[in-house]
Amino acid sequence: MSEGIKKFMFVNTKAPYGTVYALESLEVVLISAAFDQSVSLVFCDDGIFQIANNQNTEASGMKNFSPAYKALGDYDINKIYVETESLEERGLTLDNIMALTYEDEDDDWAEKSSIIPITRAELADLMDEQDVVISS
């Protein structure tokens, strides 16, 4: 890894809408992408609800910010880890998660999934490797 680039990991643990943590974290992530750092995202615990499929805010009148996660690939953020135990505890599978993708410049811009399933134990190791971990 080249000089000056740090490994940033944003760990999202809160459900969206009930509190402002999810939206605030997303905004910080998008800002950080402008600084050419190595950025990865984690969704665990209730954070997995942030990237749940089919969010529909028509009846509640709230702002549906879930489509913004689909832009992460365009910001070169393509390591999005989803903790499998968190899904299981909530009766969910990867089918309930939005299809977040990126275009791989090293592979003729092929569209690839950014979603990486990860276990709780693997996540602990991954966090240990980071320069900066920002949790919300």
Binding site: A15, P16, Y17, G18, F49, N56, S60, R90, G91, L92
Partner: protein, 102 residues
């Protein structure tokens, strides 16, 4: 008249739903709103508690908050009713008192 209990915190993060379930009487109504709506989902670690509750309590979930989080009637435990905002108002009017579990 029975009590209306509202719960607004995720059961995976706080203990308020479990606390409500153990301290509400038979025949009372429990309405899941805001981040608590995910407690109504099938197959979760709290599903057994909700399945037990629907046997003798009126368990409801606010449909708009459920849809906001990406879920619909097909995703929730059988016996839990979906109410809209007007239904929420009716529940408040029909019950003698409201207890908010925060």
């Amino acid at each position: 008249m029975a009590m209306l209990h509202t719960v607004n915190k995720s059961p995976f993060e706080r203990n308020s739903l479990s606390s409500c379930l153990t301290k509400s009487k038979e025949g009372s109504t429990i309405l899941l709103i805001e981040d608590a709506v995910v407690g109504a989902l099938k197959g979760t670690v709290v599903a057994d508690k909700l399945n037990a509750a629907v046997a003798n309590k009126n368990v409801c979930v606010l449909g708009s908050d459920l849809n906001t989080r990406g879920f619909t009637e097909a995703d929730i435990i059988d016996g839990i009713k979906i109410v809209d905002y007007a239904g929420f108002v009716d529940l408040v009017a029909e019950h003698s008192n409201v207890q908010s579990w925060l």
